[in-house]
Symmetry: C2
Subunit: 228 residues, 2 copies
DNA sequence: AAAGTATTGTCAATAAATTAACACTTTGTG
DNA sequence: CACAAAGTGTTAATTTATTGACAATACTTT
């Protein structure tokens, strides 16, 4: 039973029957439960979670139920238990071996992003095609040449490639990653990768996010003009 | 006729009847049309756009029709015209005055992000609460103290605030931005801002994006295990 | 210039996502 | 301990989003 859904904006075949709409809400539940835990709150109802997260209580109950009945009628959810369960569901109970391709501003920002290693994503190496950057230090890693990348991925069992490259070379690099057996790609380049394997692609398209703001600002102003 | 939809993951009242699902596809259409234009292609059909973008031809035609009949039966769409129209719709024919709050890695990456100024977003200033960072240079701007921010926004007519701050202080800063009359917020902090005004909020929650990858990787592996 | 082909705009049908409703269970209380 | 209150899991209803179908229209070719 396969069906097609979207990830990021790419399409991909999905094998599980959990919709991406649900999956994308899970990290938020996890984050808010972490906050509650931090405040020593032991139990929480879907209604309370609704107030906090802005999702409807009904949706929260339905989402959580995709993975099991974590709650108890008349009581609600045990915060710590649910937090841990969500962590497991999200795959946060293990670590991932990653490399960054592109030692520019974005690559450096990701390398130094606090939540990154905290969440179990271990940076093993940084690569760049610009000879001037090779040998530079990025968070304790000497930037390596692209020629070394394939062997490095295989030798170190790298699972996730983080593409912080300019638009142009990105598709080719992604293909190399896939050929070397990488399992997931976090793509910051403003392109949609065309890869036929079952690799996971998660896009962060900053320019699209930016254009959404400008659209909404413009719309807001148009509507204000109309009112007058 | 108002209804509620999502932006990013926040909810907000929307006044226009264009759904966010449509709005989020517009930047992609714009990007691909730019590519076509770059390759001196003069006309394109919804079918061809479908092949390129991965959306269905039907969806593309319906999306574009929200804003007007840009195509011609039997011919298709004029690439340049449609590109320009989309640029106007997306509000790219004007510039926006912006500031960055938080001169860490993310703030610096955004400041130096090529597409940023290219798309009409003009950086006017950078702020940070850390006294050690004040006076540092970020893309030609001396980092200023948070105390100066309010006056700066008002004096310079800043429209967009870009939050690259750590989780903790972000909500307060966002409130200050709104009080100073900012119109849009591009939020990179891992929090959901609670603002009651009609300010536009666009979230870039990197940790949620990351957790989505780890979820999908885990799911992929679980399914492979099952097969065996 | 007529015939055939391509392709849109739009409405209808389908699918997906969200919300509402409620039976049923546990908790807390007098 | 009995009873009201709280709150889940789950099914049904509703809303939203996507896809399909086709009449209408403009190109293209002979």
């Amino acid at each position: 039973m396969n069906f097609v859904i979207r990830i990021g904006v790419e399409r991909m075949e999905r094998l599980s029957n959990i919709s991406m709409a649900v999956v994308r809400r899970l990290p938020k539940y996890h984050r808010y439960l972490g906050d509650l835990l931090h405040h020593d709150i032991l139990r929480v109802s879907s209604q309370e979670l609704s107030r906090i997260t802005g999702f409807t209580a009904s949706q929260i109950r339905q989402d959580l139920n995709c993975f099991g009945g974590f709650g108890q009628q008349g009581y609600g959810y045990n915060v710590e238990e649910l937090y841990n369960e969500l962590g497991n569901i999200l795959g946060l109970s293990r670590t991932y071996r990653t490399i960054i391709i592109g030692a520019g501003n974005v690559g450096r920002a990701i390398a130094n992003y606090t939540y990154f290693e905290e969440s179990g994503f271990i940076l093993y190496g940084v690569f760049d095609s610009n000879p001037k950057k090779i040998g530079d230090d990025v968070k304790g890693h000497k930037v390596m040449s692209m020629d070394e990348m394939g062997k490095f991925i295989i030798d170190n069992g790298i699972e996730i490639g983080i593409l912080c490259t300019p638009k142009e070379g990105t598709q080719k690099i992604a293909e190399t990653l896939v050929n070397c057996g990488i399992k997931g790609i976090w793509n910051f380049a403003p392109v949609d990768l065309k890869l036929d394997s079952d690799v996971i692609i998660e896009n962060v398209h900053l320019s699209e996010s930016l254009f959404t703001i400008s659209y909404l600002l413009k719309e807001r102003e148009d509507l204000k003009m109309k009112k007058k």
